[in-house]
């Protein structure tokens, strides 16, 4: 799966969980930049990503997530 395909799937998850499209899918996008991305929605987003890509993240991996770029790298490492 190439990066643009992952990005599109991620965008889809974010829109469905956060219920808005007021963000830009950049590598340096972080949770603080996005309205409504808090502890709760973070957990739901992670669960949705695990379902979508059929993978499972470790807590330590999640702790190291800084932004969209690292999230995509993490997903790629699982595929």
């Amino acid at each position: 799966m190439d990066k643009s395909e992952i990005l599109e799937k991620l965008r889809h998850i974010l829109v469905s969980v956060l219920k808005h499209e007021k963000f830009e899918m950049r590598d340096d996008l972080s949770a603080t930049d996005v309205d409504g991305w808090d502890s709760l929605t973070h957990m739901i987003i992670i669960t949705e990503i695990e379902k979508m890509f059929n993978c499972r993240f470790k807590l330590k991996e999640l702790n190291k997530l800084g932004n969209m770029g690292t999230l995509i790298e993490l997903i790629q490492s699982k595929l």
């Binding site: 949770a31 709760l40 973070h42 957990m43 739901i44 470790k58 807590l59 330590k60 702790n63």
Partner: protein, 493 residues
């Protein structure tokens, strides 16, 4: 008493452990020396200020914490204001208290630090010249059912009494401990989380703003090997899917407060912290941080009610009594309202005589005239002396430990819609097992973008509803009131 329990131990910790770390804030360590120097610098800047109640912007900086002690040692009290809370709400607090001075840390305009030796001497002078006994320590604002937040006044004597009662629980904290401070400074569990470690020369680890809390906490526990952590149970619910990856043998004291703690989660958690003593502590802001505790027993049956761990027994110099509808002490196992009295009890709400009359009462209790606070928590006392939590008698709910009056949420939701639509705010459980707020409109579906924006501009983020539903007509009970239980069932379907 404040001098004996707070000022003196802090000065001793600074003197003895000057080069040890007092704080870990945003990936940086700060020593007790640096901390003391900042306290004195800020205290000096307060010298010519006559006001007693000082607002403090709750940033995540060393100066934010130094300000608290500078304010206290200058004979004043702090009123925390969260910079992320809508300005209008903060303004309402500023107006209510009549605040004229606001402290805000600013890394670009730093006051020059005093010399350390001079700081120590000055701190001693400060703490000795002030008569702390009659002063307030802080005023914390919580959700008010009428749409106006209410200010709980806590005296320095209250804080000192809490500290004294905490040590009476025999938790031997020392300079080698690494302690979690996960709370926003407008939430009074923060006071325990920074104060207790500092009195023993231990290090306080804070959560930088904008971090996903539960994730950052687990990282701190793992990498910094935290030894003491007071948390809200909702953090456990978020971490629960990862319990098998969490192993913190160095954790010594794991405390929970702010929400009902379910015994099955604690049982699982106890394996993550195999050497920790786990306490479920309880108390409203009105009774200074917490006032009862129950120690979780490994491998034997625990005291529970409907799967919720008991809140245990009152701490030293506290009374926790269940009263029945006739305002008499309830029998054992009889459900009633938990009422609190003792050394930690607030003198009352700031400038709010009506509410004070409603929430406090004085009665002859076991031969002594005693002033009690009505918590609104339904509880029962067991023969073994433990108090079990049953539920709320009103519409107050806890969101991540924060108290939220559902009627306050409804008040703002009604203001947000122009039509006179009937609506109800409900607390519903999400997939993690934590509560969030939903608004149900008795209406056909309409665009709620404006409602969301309005709510965000008026109330703190934890109070803003995350889900919206439309149901028409609302189910009513026999009294013609909205049947909230049934309504909840309808939206969860």
């Amino acid at each position: 008493m404040f001098y004996k329990e707070v000022s003196k131990p802090l000065l001793e910790a600074i003197d003895k452990h000057g080069s040890r770390n007092a704080f870990f804030i945003n990936n940086e360590y700060y020593t007790y020396k640096q901390f003391a120097q900042r306290i004195v610098t800020i205290a000096k800047s307060l010298e010519n200020i006559a006001d007693t109640n000082i607002a403090l912007i709750t940033n995540d900086h060393l100066d934010t914490y130094a300000s608290i002690f500078a304010i206290w040692f200058s004979g004043k009290a702090y009123v925390p204001l969260n910079p992320e809370t809508p300005a209008e709400r903060n303004q309402s607090i500023i107006d209510q208290v009549g605040i004229k001075t606001i402290l805000n840390s600013d890394e670009t305009r730093y006051l020059l630090s005093e010399d350390f030796q001079a700081s120590l001497e000055l701190l001693e002078t400060y703490t000795l010249k002030s008569n702390f006994e009659t002063q307030l320590a802080y005023i914390f604002y919580t959700s008010g059912s009428t749409g106006i937040p209410k200010g709980v006044m806590i005296t320095k004597k209250n804080v000192a009494s809490f500290v004294e009662a905490f040590w009476a629980m025999r938790r031997d904290i020392n300079e080698n401990d690494r302690c979690l401070q996960m709370f926003e400074l407008t939430f009074d569990l923060s006071v325990m989380s920074y104060l207790i470690p500092l009195l023993k020369g231990a290090c306080v680890y804070t959560i930088p703003k904008g971090q996903v809390k539960y994730s950052y906490i687990s990282e701190l526990m793992d990498e910094k090997e935290l030894t003491i952590a007071l948390m809200v149970p909702s953090i456990l619910n978020y971490l629960r899917p990862y319990f098998s990856e969490i192993y913190c043998p160095q954790m010594r004291y794991s405390l929970f407060c702010g929400e009902a703690l379910h015994s099955d989660v604690v049982e699982e958690w106890s394996h993550c912290v195999p050497n920790a003593r786990i306490d479920n502590v309880y108390g409203p802001t009105e009774d200074t941080i917490f006032c009862t505790y129950y120690t979780y027993q490994r491998a034997i049956m625990n005291e529970t009610h409907n799967g919720i761990l008991s809140i245990g027994e009152p701490m030293m110099n506290n009374l926790a009594v269940v009263f029945n509808e006739n305002n008499e002490k309830a029998d054992n196992n009889e459900t009633g309202e938990l009422c609190l009295a003792g050394a930690q009890l607030t003198p009352g709400y700031f400038n709010n005589p009506l509410l004070n009359q409603e929430m406090f009462f004085t009665t002859n209790y076991e031969g002594v005239s005693t002033r009690f606070y009505r918590t609104g928590d339904l509880c029962l006392l067991r023969e073994n002396g433990n108090i079990n939590y049953i539920g709320r008698k009103d519409f107050q709910v806890k969101i991540q430990g924060f108290r939220v009056e559902l009627s306050e949420v409804e008040y703002y939701a009604k203001k947000a819609i122009k039509e006179k639509t009937v609506l109800a705010a409900l607390a519903i459980e999400n997939s993690a097992g934590n509560y969030e707020i939903a608004i149900v409109f008795e209406s056909m579906e309409f665009d709620i973008t404006g409602v969301k924006e309005y709510m965000k501009s008026k109330i703190p983020s934890y109070m803003v509803p995350t889900q919206y539903f439309f149901i028409k007509p609302f189910p009513l009970n026999n009294n013609g009131k909205i049947d909230r239980k049934m309504l909840k069932g309808m939206i969860l379907k």
